[in-house]
Symmetry: C2
Subunit: 122 residues, 2 copies
DNA sequence: TAATTAAACTTGCATTTTGCAAGTTTAATA
DNA sequence: TATTAAACTTGCAAAATGCAAGTTTAATTA
């Protein structure tokens, strides 16, 4: 079994740097977005996100996010249902600030954005 | 001359994913933190941050952040002074939310954190 | 009950990104 | 004029990511 990073090494004591050591990568906040805003909870739901995460990275991130206490799961090994922990839910202001920035600076398809906006409760 | 990524490719139209395509890496928000909260503005000041960014990555990020319009610079090629653009300043709520999460979940050295808190205006 | 499906990984390998050490260029300073 | 130092640049090793394929075993279907 591949072993996930067990102890995140913080680069400094700065709270910003420490938080980025947890979720400052390309995929963690995408998974958390899926849980927080898009009602997703299973491996395959995450796998089918538009952004196209690959299976090994998805697995690594689910293990890591579980280890650091941002998510947990119920169900059998073959039917895991992931949910955000209380700690994970505390990232909501972060995602909200990020999406507000995104709405301001990325126009893209207006109709599509309207749908996203609705689903993200914005 | 090494060419920096010229057009960021967005993984999707999601505003969260798009924003993460800009600053969802290990170093960009550290540099922006240095400018926003720690009064830093030059290559060497960024280089001397506690987190220890390496020279090539720092250079890449400064080029990229300039290209995407989050920062810009004045001064000669040998004495560049970087500042946040209006767009870059719009990331302040993101950094604030991240640091609030960090303060809640990373204790570390109390005295040191108090100093950081002061310097971060929190 | 046996065969099939599919969800959740796992593995191997190529590509990309990052880290580290050292070197280069040229303004500013002594 | 010589030295310093700020801002890169380069080369190479290590780590992270991407991609395709394979594995395991619950759940479903025939």
């Amino acid at each position: 079994m591949k072993k996930a990073k067990e102890n995140i090494e913080n680069r400094s004591v700065c709270p910003i740097a420490c938080t980025l050591d947890l979720v400052g990568d390309k995929w963690s906040l995408i998974i958390i977005r899926d849980m927080m805003y898009l009602g997703k909870s299973t491996y395959n739901e995450f796998l089918n996100s538009k952004e196209g995460i690959s299976t090994n990275i998805l697995n690594d991130r689910l293990v890591m996010l579980t280890e650091v206490g941002l998510i947990n799961y119920t169900g059998t090994a073959k039917r895991k249902k992931y949910t955000l922990t209380k700690k994970g839910l505390k990232l909501k202001p972060v995602l909200e600030a990020i999406s507000l920035f995104g709405f301001k600076y990325f126009t893209g398809d207006k109709e599509q954005l309207k749908n996203i906006k609705r689903v993200l409760n914005l």
